[in-house]
Symmetry: C2
Subunit: 192 residues, 2 copies
């Protein structure tokens, strides 16, 4: 093999080798890009479906809202709840609209469940329980885009000092509410 | 006595007699009038202080009113109450205005106090009570002129069928509410 041919062969072989490496690099970059793309997509999906966000601000004017119903929890909670709704929520309740429309907000105002000595005295027997000190307020805000991870509802819980509780606590809301999917995760029924 | 003088005398005497009778009639009419006036006054007074009148119509729009508080009565009542107020009542509550101003209306919406099987199932334990079927609505309407006999408050009680209960039942409201004169006969305190 004359050196020129050899050189040409070597050059061709090297060129081929470089081309192969470039191709490999392109494939690798492409593959990596794909992996990155997949990773981004996967993490966004994880955010939407697995990493919920919660309500961080108390909705304005909730104390002026109309009445939905009352509730009482015994045992460790020993609470009274008054459940109020903004105009969108009240309209949906009255018209039996399910799922609730965007913008619906439901507020549960919680108080201690306490016996009323003054009422019992007037009635002449122990039978009266009233709302004691306020304990917390919980909200459900319908925003399907913002709260995809929790069924389209943003959950919020604010203690009596106005501060929201930590996310570890908030994680317990959705799994429980999810048990009543047929009523769009809302426990409270409308009291006429 | 000449007949003319006699006649004149008789005429004078008769005139005097007629005048006396007219005077007596006027006095009698006046006296009767006075008696009638006294009777009317006395009966109105009796109406105002001894014969109360009650609320006969359900106030319009009460289901849109704002929330005051919740209550629960045990025993034979076994009820849940949601207490709502019209704008005048809510303003008075928030400003601590006592006595309540004219036009204030307080509504107590009563429901059966029932355990919630669906809530208990979701929570995993028996602890939840909710508003069951509506039972009655009670009202207190502040109108000092109309309801003088019952401390300036008109009491109303309407069963679930919308019919008001009889006056015999209604007579029991005021004696009990009168026990809390210091809060203008209103049991329910405002829940923040």
């Amino acid at each position: 093999m004359p050196p020129s041919i050899h050189a040409t062969y070597r050059l061709k072989a090297e060129t081929s080798n470089i081309m192969k490496r470039i191709t490999l690099l392109i494939i690798t970059i492409g593959a990596l890009g794909g992996v990155v793309a997949l990773t981004v997509r996967a993490s966004r999906s994880a955010y939407q479906e697995g990493t919920p966000s919660y309500v961080t601000e108390i909705p304005e004017g909730y104390r002026e809202w109309r009445f939905i119903s009352v509730a009482h929890e015994e045992a460790n909670l020993n609470s009274f709840a008054s459940v109020l709704g903004n105009d969108i929520a009240i309209k949906a309740y009255r018209e039996g609209q399910l799922p609730f429309p965007e913008g619906a907000i439901i507020a549960a105002l919680h108080y201690k469940f306490v016996p009323s000595a003054e009422n019992n005295k007037a009635f002449g027997r122990d039978q009266s329980f009233v709302a004691g000190a306020p304990t917390n307020i919980q909200f459900m805000i319908k925003d399907s885009k913002k709260y995809t991870a929790t069924g389209g509802w943003g959950f919020g819980h604010f203690n009596n000092d106005g501060k929201k509780v930590d996310d570890a606590f908030m994680k317990t809301c959705f799994p429980c509410h999810q048990k009543i999917k047929e009523r769009d995760l809302v426990f409270t029924r409308y009291a006429p």
